[in-house]
């Protein structure tokens, strides 16, 4: 199973009485950008911490890049941007990257070259000798990203990489993810910014109450679920009842009715049905649901509380 970057089986974490992660079972392919979504308190952070060896699982098993959790050779090929990135802020940007490169045991010449490249990439070259405590939140996030990419990793964990970033910074992160993907890097992305996830991810997992409740290709998910708005006259209650067989969440408002359907292929059948029922159809408009709408549908509006 070497083509899997991450594989977990029933990873579980209990803190005293509290079950943080009930049973995480996941497969992430190599080279994939994988989105990890869920409401606050769903167990996302604990899950990532287990994968990175920060927290020991109560039970279950996992392999990263084919090696068991905590394997140091595998860690040498991984990068991590923590969520509340706090670094030794009395180091300069250059010293900070140098420290982390040394912890990766990178050869000195290679490290120097890599530091120059990455400082350029994240746009911090002019600030390389400034101490991190003088950095803005966005600059810290950029230097944190550079840190996560020092070793040219095969697998990168990004925990809320765009939090604290302005639109320019967010674009930078998005471009960086696209570049990494081109080079075959696997990316595990934990983000609340669903619009970002929608742009960058290949597949997403939804997690709630410490369990994966759905894993799906992002394309299938977003293209699949469609809401249809019909504008027509002659929409009698019995016609509306008949419409329900193609979808759910039917909302009627005078001459307009909205319905969520599984995918676009049912649209012609709906049209034929309406015509057969002597309904005068003025418009039949499919509308893709945003990831945010899907998130609400899948996770529920209770936010998993």
């Amino acid at each position: 199973m070497t083509d899997l970057a991450i594989q977990t089986t029933d990873l579980r974490k209990e803190f005293d009485e509290n079950i943080a992660v009930r049973g995480l079972t996941l497969q992430v392919q190599q080279g994939e950008v994988f989105g990890f979504l869920g409401p606050n308190g769903a167990g996302k952070t604990t899950s990532i911490k287990m994968l990175l060896g920060l927290v020991a699982p109560t039970s279950g098993s996992a392999t990263l890049l084919g090696a068991p959790l905590g394997d140091r050779a595998a860690r040498a090929k991984m990068g991590f941007l923590p969520e509340h990135f706090r670094f030794h802020d009395w180091l300069s940007a250059n010293e900070f990257l140098d420290l982390h490169g040394q912890l990766y045991a990178m050869p000195a010449a290679r490290l120097r070259q890599r530091i120059d490249e990455l400082l350029d990439l994240v746009g911090l070259s002019p600030y390389r000798d400034k101490q991190l405590r003088t950095f803005s939140k966005g600059m810290l996030q950029r230097i944190g990203l550079a840190q996560a990419l020092l070793n040219d990793p095969a697998l990168v964990f990004l925990d809320e990489p765009t939090s604290g970033l302005d639109p320019v910074g967010r674009r930078l992160v998005r471009d960086m993810i696209a570049n990494l993907k081109k080079r075959g890097t696997t990316i595990f992305l934990n983000s609340h910014l669903l619009s970002e996830v929608e742009i960058t991810c290949d597949r997403v997992a939804f997690i709630k109450h410490g369990e994966v409740i759905r894993v799906s290709e992002l394309k299938t998910l977003v293209n699949g679920a469609t809401s249809v708005t019909v504008r027509a006259s002659g929409l009698t209650p019995s016609v509306l009842d008949g419409l329900r067989r193609w979808g759910k969440d039917l909302r009627a408002d005078g001459n307009q009715v909205t319905l969520t359907v599984a995918d676009e292929s049912v649209l012609p059948a709906i049209n034929r049905y309406l015509v057969a029922q002597n309904v005068a159809v003025y418009a039949l408009t499919p509308q893709h649901l945003s990831l945010e709408d899907l998130f609400m549908q899948i996770v529920g509006t209770d936010g998993g509380l």
């Binding site: 020991a56 140091r72 050779a73 860690r75 991984m78 990135f85 030794h88 982390h100 912890l103 045991a105």
Partner: protein, 284 residues
């Protein structure tokens, strides 16, 4: 290798956060005050006329020894406090702030992080002792040409004591928050201090129960016993024969044995091993 990277980082942190500078400046201020005090006491006490040359010489060396050990007593306390202060926040603080997360997820063993920090602090404390012990000795030598006996034994024991407190602090810091760590360490120091006191009274009054209290307290934390042995080592042979040496507010009558030194060293090693183990197994 990674341990050395962390050791260097620890050292650099002390420099950047001006801990080293503050310790140096205050240390120099201490030494200046000490030198003035030394000079004044000597001026007052030495011209007093005594019956014979022998007595004069004895008195002078006794006074010099007393003044040097008084200085070292203060330095010893400062070094312990320094060891506790630098180590208290190191793991607890980095765990609390999350700084540790980007470090332990690198291909390094957690043990290397703990050992690296220990090495860094050991270096810092050695530097501090060189300045402070060296300074006190230099004052005695410059003003009176005096050198305490067994200097190196004394310094080694003081360093061991400082390392011991730093290591126990590191152990607490691997599992407790910073302030709780500080509380535990100063509590332990209090036990060692008062236990040593009771033991000396017990030895003077020949009260076995009081002596036992002292022994138990130095089993709980053997730091004070190391200082008393260090002071004893640096006491002139005549006073040693009389069975007294000056060690701060109390005279040392019951001298800590070699076994107690071995115990203290073993205590340090076990504390460090435990710190490594606790940190390696905890959730971060």
């Amino acid at each position: 290798m990674a341990a050395l990277v962390i050791a260097r980082l620890t050292f650099l942190e002390a420099v950047r956060r001006r801990i080293l500078l503050a310790a140096f400046l205050l240390g120099v201020a201490f030494l200046v005050l000490y030198a003035v005090g030394f000079y004044l006491m000597r001026q007052e006490a030495l011209p007093m006329n005594r019956q014979s040359e022998v007595l004069n010489t004895l008195f002078k060396s006794g006074l010099d020894n007393f003044l040097t050990l008084a200085g070292l007593y203060a330095v010893n306390f400062l070094a312990i406090a320094m060891g506790a202060l630098v180590a208290a926040d190191t793991l607890a603080g980095e765990i609390g702030s999350g700084t540790i997360q980007a470090i332990v997820t690198k291909p390094v063993r957690r043990a290397q992080i703990v050992l690296g920090k220990w090495l860094g602090f050991a270096g810092l404390l050695a530097l501090y002792l060189v300045l402070m012990v060296g300074g006190v000795m230099a004052v005695a030598y410059a003003l009176d040409g005096y050198v305490v006996p067994n200097v190196w034994n004394g310094i080694a024991l003081i360093y061991l004591e400082t390392l011991l407190i730093m290591t126990v602090t590191l152990l607490c810091s691997s599992t407790l928050p910073t302030l709780a760590t500080g509380g535990v360490i100063f509590g332990l120091y209090g036990i060692a201090f008062i236990g040593g006191w009771v033991e000396q009274f017990g030895a003077i009054l020949e009260n076995p129960a009081a002596i036992n209290i002292g022994i138990v307290s130095s089993l709980i934390i053997p730091s004070e016993a190391l200082w008393r042995r260090a002071a004893y080592e640096m006491t002139p042979p005549l006073a040693q024969m009389l069975g007294v040496s000056f060690s701060g507010p109390m005279l040392t009558v019951s001298v800590p044995s070699n076994l107690q030194i071995v115990y203290a060293a073993a205590y340090l090693v076990v504390a460090l091993a435990l710190a490594v183990r606790v940190f390696a197994q905890r959730d971060l």
